[in-house]
């Protein structure tokens, strides 16, 4: 197995998981810092891959995401960043390039979520989705406030998730795509 360089890995992840990268930008609230987090995560994941700790290149995205989540968590908890990891300008550049792709995703993403909300016939169910996914309120609090049975809550959330997955799949997103992209890029 040949190795993957940071720029290519970041590009592939940016193409395959724009929602997760946008999520980081939104959560962190600082695009540059978000890029740093993802860049560090890519670097760490590549180290694992090159050290043979990741069995298949197709799994690298999961590692990147896990490490990025950990960095974000540490950032939130105001833990000191590890000084040995510095931002690689090449990777930042590649992330900047993928940002254009992500920006082009934004109107489509908004339209998709608008459609999902509009498909919910009951206003209360839209409120449920907003409170769970946007406000990140607890399920029991939402059920109590809206007078919902837990089973109904599960059904509404299941439906929203299913619709979003269907939209992803309609765009051609399949679990093998990431591996396919790696193949096309000549990394395996």
């Amino acid at each position: 197995m040949s190795t993957i360089d940071k720029r290519s890995a970041a590009l592939l992840i940016g193409r395959q998981y724009p929602g997760l990268l946008l999520f980081f930008r939104r959560k962190v609230g600082d695009a540059e810092l978000a890029n740093d987090l993802v860049n560090e995560a890519v670097a760490t994941a590549l180290e694992h891959l090159n050290a043979g700790r990741i069995s298949q290149p197709s799994l690298i995205a999961g590692y990147v995401f896990r490490v990025a989540m950990n960095h974000w968590r540490n950032h939130r908890r105001k833990l000191a960043a590890r000084p040995e990891r510095t931002t690689d300008p090449d990777t930042i550049e590649s992330l900047a390039a993928s940002k254009e792709d992500q920006d082009s995703e934004e109107p489509q993403l908004r339209s998709e979520v608008r459609g999902i909300l509009e498909e919910l016939p009951v206003r209360r169910d839209r409120e449920l989705v907003r409170r769970f996914y946007l406000n990140e309120d607890d399920k029991s609090a939402i059920c109590s406030d809206l007078g919902l049975a837990p089973l109904h809550f599960d059904k509404v959330i299941f439906r929203a998730r299913k619709r979003m997955r269907e939209r992803l799949e309609a765009k051609g997103f399949k679990k093998s795509d990431f591996f396919g992209l790696l193949l096309l890029a000549g990394f395996v």
Partner: protein, 238 residues
């Protein structure tokens, strides 16, 4: 941690909200490192969250949380009213008698046409709790005059096996509005309780079916609730 646990406990969304205790978070991370399909779930949840943030920032979210705008609603009501006026004429021409205002019946004979003949049964649907889905069943009602048979499986067995079924519409704010009920229904050998639906006065939308033991049975207070989606080909009700 398996896929059922992840779904049942909304682990993906809680992970993205950083709400999982450390052991649960680590267990979930181990799962998605080995399962690319879970990465798809994460991407879908992240897109949902980001899309909601975008709608909020664009000032669109509040409008989506409101009932339909009055102007649009007025237009819709006007269109519906026009259809209703036409439909009432058709109803008086072709259907007459006590069945016209009823939606639920214990048998297909509960609904008759103007000659007193039972309406034909145009379809049969089985109503069970659908695991994970929003609706327990989606029903395409035939164009009137015709009825649809529903075979509903209650969660609790009544002794003696007599049941009551109530039908309610679900309003914009999620509240059920009782449309009708029918009792003294006897369960079939397979445990299902049969009821017949006359959709000529129903509109497309979400409805609730509640099955309980009839009075003086062991399951008189035990209700099984089902959410059903109905699509009609007939006129909307007033």
């Amino acid at each position: 941690m398996d896929r059922k646990y992840i779904d049942d406990h909304h682990i993906v969304a809680r992970y993205l909200a950083d709400q999982l205790p450390d052991p649960e978070r680590e267990a979930f991370e181990s799962c998605y490192l080995d399962d690319p399909q879970l990465m798809v779930e994460l991407e879908a949840a992240a897109r949902l969250k980001v899309g909601l943030m975008q709608l909020r920032d664009a000032g669109e979210l509040e409008a989506l949380m409101q009932p339909a705008r009055p102007f649009k609603r007025t237009l819709r009501f006007a269109a519906a009213a026009a259809v209703i006026v036409a439909a009432i004429g058709i109803v008086f021409l072709f259907v007459r008698g006590p069945s016209a205002s009823r939606m639920l019946g214990a048998s297909s004979a509960a609904f008759v046409d103007r000659r007193g003949d039972p309406l034909p049964v145009a379809g049969t649907y089985t109503i069970l709790h659908a695991r994970g889905g929003y609706l327990d069943a989606e029903i395409d009602l035939p164009a009137p005059p015709a009825t649809t048979e529903l075979r509903v499986f209650p969660d609790v067995e009544a002794n003696p096996p007599r049941y009551r079924i109530a039908l309610s519409s679900i309003s914009e704010d999620g509240k059920p509005k009782l449309l009708g009920d029918v009792g003294d229904l006897v369960a079939a050998d397979d445990g299902s309780v049969r009821v017949f639906l006359n959709g000529e006065r129903m509109a497309s939308g979400t409805y609730q079916l509640v099955v309980s033991g009839d009075s003086a049975t062991s399951a008189a207070g035990a209700a099984s609730t089902f959410l059903i989606g109905i699509r009609t080909h007939g006129p909307a009700p007033p």
